[in-house]
């Protein structure tokens, strides 16, 4: 596969990456953690422990027989105090396990380097690691990497990090660049992929030079600098920006010979293959005017937002919105009682000055949304049909191709809630499909 740099459509955003040069700090183990049984796309995990059980760090708490799923591990050692139902910030309902730590962080006895001598064993290890796409979608990694008989022409490592505020991927590269490059080599070896491209945007030159330097002795790995543009970190956009190829509608990257992994997914996978310790903690960016001690923190999965907020000197009076993720695609937390999950990459404690509250007004047909849409859609037309609940027209205008990046809503001078209406519209199309078989 040849590199053919293309400019994507989209928007130019303020960077606001003020935490990029602050070294990662480890958050102390909180008093209580809550681990949801659905932290991925696919089937939820069944609870495998009971109330009162003692659990170790790295012990499987939940799993399922289903292929599209990933096991969930305990991030701390301690006692299971409650198994309850909860609603995640994404709106998904699932069970969760509440654990009280004993503070010893005792590792599950017998955890050792997994056997990854063959491709099959490697893929099994990927599943056992509990790894899901850490870029945000949370798609189980073993499903993505199992490309069956088709060998990808290239592995694309996504170090784009195009959302404002977020710097955790950048910190991962700066602090654990060597492990990342070794992880890339490992994946290339195990899956016999001939080439890897690590994509970095030009607002992170230090990350680019470091990766380039670390990977210079392996001619299979090429570090590529891309012009900063949102949403270049979206899988389909990144592939296009690098190769000029479009992933077919309703298709997968492997259809055009590529596999995309987030840079921190590569890191997590490498660590598991070296130590056998699954994904139990995450590096997250804490930002926004609602907190004093902004920066990147290594936190155990299951840590409540409130513990991070307190540790970072948060001000509840000032904070009006808590974002899980970036300001363009992040979801809002209903309360501070929400736990960190595998896909968490940032918590932004926003005050009114961080946000843009503006009233919706009539569409003036300026066409800015059409120019901004990276997926080549007609947001203004889709908005009209979504509000009128005209399902057939929505499908005709390819609403299902919308990646909800928010570029259209961002540029809209009338401040129309475009993406919001598309979520409703997509739901209408899905329901109509179910109804019509």
């Amino acid at each position: 596969m040849i590199i053919k740099i293309k400019n994507i459509k989209g928007v130019t955003l303020p960077h606001r990456k003020g935490t990029s040069e602050i070294p990662t700090e480890t958050l102390p183990i909180p008093k209580l953690v809550e681990i949801p049984m659905q932290q991925h796309i696919g089937a939820p995990c069944k609870v495998l422990v009971g109330k009162g059980d003692y659990v170790y760090v790295g012990q499987v708490l939940g799993d399922t027989e289903k292929f599209v799923s990933a096991p969930i591990h305990s991030s701390i050692s301690g006692t299971v105090v409650q198994i309850k139902d909860m609603i995640l910030h994404s709106g998904v309902k699932c069970e969760s396990i509440v654990i009280e730590p004993d503070g010893k962080q005792e590792v599950l006895p017998g955890i050792t380097q997994p056997d990854i001598s063959t491709k099959e064993k490697f893929l099994k290890a990927v599943r056992n690691s509990g790894l899901t796409g850490l870029g945000g979608a949370g798609f189980p990694a073993h499903v993505k990497l199992d490309t069956k008989e088709r060998i990808p022409e290239a592995l694309i490592v996504n170090a784009v990090e195009c959302e404002p505020y977020i710097t955790c991927d950048y910190r991962a590269i700066i602090e654990e660049g060597n492990e990342i490059v070794n992880g890339v080599k490992l994946i290339l070896d195990k899956l016999s992929i001939p080439k890897a491209y690590i994509a970095v945007e030009d607002n992170k030159p230090a990350a680019f030079s470091l990766l380039k330097e670390l990977a210079k002795d392996d001619c299979r790995i090429e570090t590529v600098m891309l012009k900063t543009k949102y949403p270049q970190g979206a899988e389909k956009m990144l592939i296009y920006a690098l190769t000029g190829k479009e992933v077919p509608m309703n298709g997968l990257p492997i259809d055009i010979g590529t596999v995309v992994m987030n840079v921190t997914s590569v890191l997590a996978l490498y660590k598991y293959c070296k130590t056998g310790m699954p994904l139990v903690s995450k590096r997250i960016t804490v930002e926004g005017n609602g907190v004093k001690n902004r920066g990147n923190y290594q936190v155990v999965i299951g840590t409540y937002i409130k513990d991070i907020f307190e540790y970072c000197n948060g001000d509840k009076e000032k904070t009006v919105k808590v974002l899980c993720g970036g300001p363009m695609m992040g979801t809002t937390a209903e309360s501070y009682e929400m736990p960190v999950v595998k896909q968490s990459n940032a918590f932004l404690f926003m005050t009114p000055e961080d946000l843009d509250f503006m009233e919706e007004s009539a569409c003036i047909r300026c066409g800015r949304c059409v120019e901004a849409c990276p997926m080549g859609l007609m947001p203004l037309t889709m908005n009209r049909y979504a509000l009128a609940k005209m399902t057939e027209e929505l499908e005709k205008y390819n609403i299902m191709n919308c990646i909800e990046c928010g570029s259209c809503s961002y540029v809209c001078p009338a401040k129309r809630h475009l993406v919001q209406s598309f979520r409703v519209g997509k739901d209408l199309v899905r329901k109509a499909k179910v109804k019509n078989g």
Partner: protein, 306 residues
Amino acid sequence: MDKLIVSSSPHIKDKATTSRIMLDVIIALMPTAILSVYYFSYVSALIIVASVSSCVLFEYLFNLITKKKHSETDLSCVVTGLILAMNMPPLKSSIILSIIGAFIAIVVIKMLFGGIGQNIFNPAAAARIFLTTAFSSLMTVYVAPLTDGVTAATPLAIPKGELLPSYLDLFLGKTPGSLGETAAVTLIAGGIYLMIRKVITWEIPVIYIGTVALLSFAFGQDPLYSILAGGMMLGSIYMATDYTTSPVTRKGKIVYAAGLGLMTASIRKFGSNTEGVAFSLLFMNALVPLIDKFTVKKTFGRIKKK
């Protein structure tokens, strides 16, 4: 329970607003408006004031009577008023006529169709056509600039054989015509400002003007004279680029502008009307929904049908 706002992404927005865009159009038209006052003295100022204030007033009253949310603050009615004034001949009668025009533009053409973003026809163009039809004697008399009211023929209506104004006079607007359609220099400067501010893109004005130049050359006319005389600059830069009444995609804009050029050049060559910009606008406005339908962008990743 903590009071946290739960809302849909994105959570940040660009600074551009409807009113800021409209303000930019007003700023872009200011040099032309000021120049018209210089050329045609206080009459011009009175026409502008009458037109703008009645457009704002009609929109305010319409919203008041129909109990709609007040939309005057988006400044689009000010833009309509200003463009309408630029379309009026510099006569005292235009002060009254511009109020009638404002009623047509705002109430009939814009608000009755649902307000901003909903009207099919360009309000100022429709008002001009209405006034030219209903008050043709008052709308087709033009005054020479800097003469204190001497009537004269517009550059496009000068009979064959008589002396035509020079390119420089056309460029500086020292020719008879309506308030804002004579001076190419200030209209182009405003247009460049709008492009720098990313309010408009080059496609519509450049292709419209280019098509007219090309066709008038083909018809054996002087292309430079054709684009500098009459309402070409005002129409192509400020009226044809009206968001509501022009296509949304780039491809659509190109088709629309080429259509406008074809219409204008044909009306000027074959029609009895010497102008044609406003008529072309109305005609092409009616085709915008159709153009939009056939110029939908190609969706990312769509598999080409063989």
